[in-house]
């Protein structure tokens, strides 16, 4: 009996485990393989949808499903204390859960995602709204419904962070709303970003930065970069940077500092920001050929996005199946990512790239907006279930 354990039941864990079940279908049916998913929560949130929720385009019920309904029926799901991990012990090839049970594995897939380190910046959580957390996204939706003008600051606190294009989208969606409501002249929009080389940078990839910077300029969006937020005063509504900037705001939309999961730190298998050292081609945890890392949990300089996890899942599922039954050959990850970028309430563009081919976003269009909405809608029925 071969045992596969997937640590984490988010987007990455769910896609990869379903794909592995397909690859090992016969072995599962014959009882020669067993697949387990360990995750504390019974609920699965489609995180990228929270951006659209903030702008009233999605509602919470369409973004949350029970994990058990997404998994291949042959996969064993452990939730609650049975799924909450206490230690990932890669030396002994086992994961220990809070109920004391030891889950031994032949292959482990680490899909433990991201946590938000709000405490790293004083006043940041209290003084801002963020689409990155469901509760705050819903509050932002209410705030935007009543928005009648003022100074809005969109701040990226630290890099890297998950869904890297989201702050660009928030900025352009907001600008479009202000224009459509006739309050654009009463609305000052300021985008702040930690890296300012070249001056006025809004995004990390040069080719994309050039295109989006031009859009911001044409739409009268002010950019301050480098801007590394040092503190926020929620009462006075002031944001300060380590570069010495001090700006008053009426509405602050934040991207919280990202770190890996606490279990990575507790298991002493990550770096100081809890990212797991990962080989960029094999997706193995460095030094451990029986362990793979997927999605936001890796330390890869790429993109912490759902589509990255989806692309990675093909490689990992194939290689896990090859580890177990052989004859499939090994696949290598090419760094593929696809992200739609909303440029308004009915237009979008996208970036599709890999390690060696940087993206140039095409001109915004309704077709890409439709593509973005469809990509979101199809998540539950196609992507999560690894249908394609």
């Amino acid at each position: 009996m071969k045992r596969i354990v997937v640590a984490g039941g988010g987007i990455a864990g769910t896609i990869v485990v379903n794909r592995i079940a397909q690859k090992l279908s016969e072995e599962l049916n014959r009882g020669e393989a067993e697949i387990e998913v360990l995750t504390e929560s019974e609920e699965h949130i489609y995180l990228p949808g929270q951006l659209l929720l903030s702008f009233g385009i999605e509602d919470p019920s369409s973004l949350v499903k029970k994990e058990k309904y997404l998994l291949d029926s042959r996969i064993k799901l452990h939730t609650g204390i049975s799924g909450k991990m206490k230690k990932i012990d890669v030396a002994n090839h086992e994961v220990i859960t809070e109920d004391g049970k030891i889950h031994r594995y032949d292959n482990l897939i680490i899909a433990t995602g991201v946590e938000y380190a709000w405490d790293e910046i004083k006043g940041y959580k209290e003084g801002s709204f963020t689409p990155f957390e469901m509760d705050s996204a819903m509050k932002l939706r209410e705030r935007l419904a009543d928005f009648s003008g003022g100074t809005v600051i969109i701040n990226v606190s630290k890099l890297p962070h998950r869904c890297p294009v989201a702050p660009l989208e928030v900025t352009m969606l907001l600008e479009d709303i202000a224009k459509k409501r006739g309050i654009r002249e009463k609305t000052k929009i300021i985008y702040t970003f930690p890296v300012g080389n070249p001056s006025g940078r809004v995004f990390g990839i040069d080719t994309t930065n050039k295109v989006i910077s031009k859009m911001f300029e044409e739409r009268g969006i002010e950019v301050i970069s480098p801007f590394n937020v040092s503190s926020v005063d929620p009462d006075k509504k002031v944001i300060e940077s380590s570069e010495g900037e001090k700006i008053n705001y009426d509405l602050l939309i934040s991207v919280p500092p990202n770190v890996g999961s606490r279990i990575i730190q507790d298991s002493e298998i990550g770096d100081r920001r809890r990212w797991v050292p990962t080989d960029k081609f094999t997706l193995n945890m460095k030094g451990h050929s029986d362990v793979y890392v997927i999605g936001d949990a890796t330390d890869l300089p790429i993109s912490k996005a759902g589509s990255t996890a989806d692309f990675e899942s093909y490689v990992i599922a194939n290689n896990v199946a090859n580890d177990i039954k052989g004859n499939l050959g090994r696949k290598s990850f090419d760094g593929s990512v696809l992200c739609y970028i909303a440029t308004g309430m009915d237009t979008a563009t996208y970036i599709r790239f890999n390690y060696n081919r940087p993206p140039v976003p095409p001109p915004p269009s309704y077709v890409h907006w439709w593509g973005k909405l469809m990509y979101n809608k199809m998540y539950w029925t196609v992507t999560a279930k690894a249908i394609v």
Partner: protein
């Protein structure tokens, strides 16, 4: 000699960009430690040098080898 805390392969495309990736790691290093960064093109190498200068970090090593640029950056 500074101890290398982490080696960053910045030769590929990353949403945070090479400087963003570096920034995320440089915040974590302790006294006496450094980050090794590998960059694949001259334009990015120029950006790294400018950024190190502007932020006050210390360029401990700057070498070109087999078409790639190797940096060791410390505090």
């Amino acid at each position: 000699m500074a101890k290398i805390y982490k080696t960053l392969d910045l030769t590929g495309t990353s949403c945070a960009g090479p400087i963003g990736e570096l920034l995320g790691v440089m915040d974590e290093i302790k006294e006496g430690e450094a980050v090794e960064a590998i960059v694949g093109d001259a334009e990015t190498a120029k950006q790294v040098r400018e950024w190190v200068k502007a932020t006050g970090f210390k360029m401990i090593d700057d070498r070109e080898k087999e078409g790639k640029y190797w940096f060791v950056i410390g505090r």
